[in-house]
């Protein structure tokens, strides 16, 4: 069950510093939306506000609205814990729990919700690892440490862990930036499969990747260092890459930036 995200007039602050100003965009269900833009323009910041992960950082706060199928995730009666169960996240650096086996890593989030019987967990582990295209590689060593896998495998393990709780939305912050090209392709293929069921938002600094995988692209930019980042334009990926309406987008896409 994928859901739509509507962001309107979003401002994000770290203490007194405004990192992002006036972002308004809609993320369609069962599609991949890519955030691109130069580093420091607030892509990660915006992404983290979509599941309230920015609240982990002391001093970070938002203004504006983020609606998940019409429901304000910043509503006064909304628990951020529930928001994060619904909107999962994969980070830039693969971060499996180092003290856990592959199996335990996959079910870590699930075990938070209620008691599961072992056979139930077995089913979820296989399903999630298959979903993350990792099952064939690790099915014989599920009790080995998750941190012993290669970087690409670890990242797919993290994806398996994120989808094991069946979120409605998956947020990915440069999930391939620490990976080799083969692993990157594996994850891109995986995203195409995942978008059948999930709403996906991916931050990437790799424009070819955005062009390859995403349906919609949002280009963020920074007027100057110390100024807040802004959303320049958002549209269908083919339109953004072939026919952008803004000069800044065109410059960035064609590599004539800065």
């Amino acid at each position: 069950m994928a859901k739509r995200i509507e962001v309107s007039d979003l401002n994000v602050y770290y203490g007194a510093f405004q990192a992002v100003e006036g972002v308004t965009l809609t993320v369609e269900p069962r599609s991949i939306t890519a955030f691109i833009g130069p580093s420091g323009c607030g892509k990660s910041t915006v992404l983290r506000t979509l599941n309230r992960m920015h609240e982990v950082i002391p001093g970070a706060r938002v203004e504006g609205k983020v609606l998940l199928d019409g429901e304000d995730i910043y509503g006064s009666d909304i628990d951020p814990v529930n928001v994060r169960r619904t909107i999962g996240m994969v980070f830039q650096k693969p971060n499996p729990f180092p003290t856990m086996s592959i199996y335990e890593n996959v079910v870590a989030g699930l075990k938070l919700q209620r008691k599961y019987k072992r056979p139930e967990l077995d089913i979820v582990v296989e399903k999630s690892l298959r979903g993350a295209n990792l099952w064939e590689e690790v099915k014989d060593r599920l009790d080995r440490p998750g941190a012993g896998l290669s970087g690409g495998q670890q990242q797919r393990l993290c994806i398996a862990r994120a989808i094991s709780v069946e979120p409605q939305v998956l947020l990915m912050d440069e999930p391939c930036s620490a990976l080799d090209p083969i692993s990157t392709l594996a994850i891109e293929d995986l995203m195409q499969e995942l978008k059948e069921r999930y709403t996906i938002v991916i931050v990437t600094h790799n424009m070819q990747q955005a062009a390859r995988v995403s349906d919609k692209t949002a280009f963020f930019n920074l007027a100057a260092t110390g100024k807040p980042g802004k959303l320049v334009e958002v549209g269908n990926t083919t339109m953004i890459f072939n026919n952008p309406t803004q000069r800044a987008t065109e410059d960035y896409i064609s590599g004539r930036f800065g």
Partner: protein, 319 residues
């Protein structure tokens, strides 16, 4: 043939000599530590064995300690009992509180408060034990009397709380002083350990929709497990070997009693401090024999902890 860029004498590099020098230094230090350890053990054995030989009682089971009588009667039973019980009780009280303090300082407390309080804990860990002993003697012992009386009135049906004489200078009081003494030590080390937990792992747990406590259970406690065990061993070791603080708050006698609120009891270290001065030659040998027992226990506890840590080595942070 021209000499290539990578040819040249192997020993010409200055860094290489430093490398060799450091390796020798570190191997040398490690060997030195081992030699000292063996030398201590040999010294203790050489002093202790003749005394144990002259003992007319069984050294392991006898409670009394009269090595300078003729015939000599002494045994480790009461001292060992007192040592283990005080240290164990102290850990029972201190460990959960110390972990709680460390969690508050690293996870729950507001940064502006947690940082200075962290320094305070570090400072407390460095307070000499005689200060805790004096504080225990002057302040805590009188306060323990009503508490002990209350415990024995309402919980006297449990053997450990049964007491006929309430005087404050009991095994229980000694345990409380030890607990207060080791608490900052354990908390300080545990705090350092929890500070090392990678932010990525904490964020991974939170992003899965865990509450703060669930995040601690998923990411912080398992990651800190081996460090936590080390901290506990450090605290337990200090409690086992603590001399002056126990000597000050305990009214010593040589009995094994389950009634922990009753005055009396003794520990190996406190007994050495209290009686070494007046001991005759056999008495000294006997005290050294008791010191040997303490040495062996401490080693055993350390090795036990290492074994526990090693069991899940592959799953520790160091991968």
């Amino acid at each position: 043939m021209q000499p290539g860029a990578i040819s040249g004498s192997k020993d010409a590099n200055k860094g290489r000599w430093l490398d060799v020098g450091f390796r020798r230094l570190s191997v040398g230090s490690a060997v030195l530590v081992l030699i000292i350890l063996v030398a201590i053990a040999l010294f203790l054995l050489q002093q202790a064995l003749p005394a144990i030989h002259k003992d007319t009682a069984n050294f392991l089971t006898e409670q009394q300690w009269r090595p300078d009588d003729t015939p000599a009667v002494f045994g480790i039973a009461a001292l060992l009992y007192g040592t283990l019980v005080t240290a164990f009780l102290a850990m029972l009280m201190a460990l959960p509180v110390a972990v709680g303090v460390a969690l508050w300082l690293t996870q729950y407390g507001p940064r502006a408060l947690a940082r200075p309080l962290g320094y305070v804990v570090d400072l407390l860990a460095a307070v000499p034990s005689v200060v805790f002993g004096l504080w225990g003697l002057i302040y805590l012992v009188p306060k323990m009397i009503p508490l002990s009386a209350w415990l024995s009135t309402y919980f006297g049906w449990i053997p450990i709380f049964k007491s006929d004489a309430i005087f404050g200078k009991s095994i229980f009081t000694a345990s409380v002083v030890l607990a207060i003494m080791v608490l900052p030590v354990i908390a300080a080390v545990t705090r350092e350990v929890f500070l090392q937990v990678p932010r990525e792992n904490q964020e991974a747990a939170l992003a899965l929709g865990s509450t703060r406590w669930e995040m601690i259970r998923l990411a912080v406690l398992p990651y800190g497990r081996s460090g936590l065990i080390s901290a506990a061993v450090l605290g337990f070791g200090r409690a086992l070997g603590e001399t002056i603080a126990v000597a000050l708050v305990l009214s010593a006698n040589y009995t094994v009693s389950a009634h922990l609120l009753t005055p009396g009891g003794n520990t190996i270290a406190a007994n050495i401090a209290n009686t070494f001065g007046e001991a005759g030659s056999l008495g000294r040998g006997a005290l050294i024999a008791s010191g040997l027992v303490l040495f062996v226990i401490t080693l055993a506890v350390n090795f036990g902890a290492r074994a526990i840590v090693a069991r899940r080595r592959e799953f520790t942070a160091a991968t």
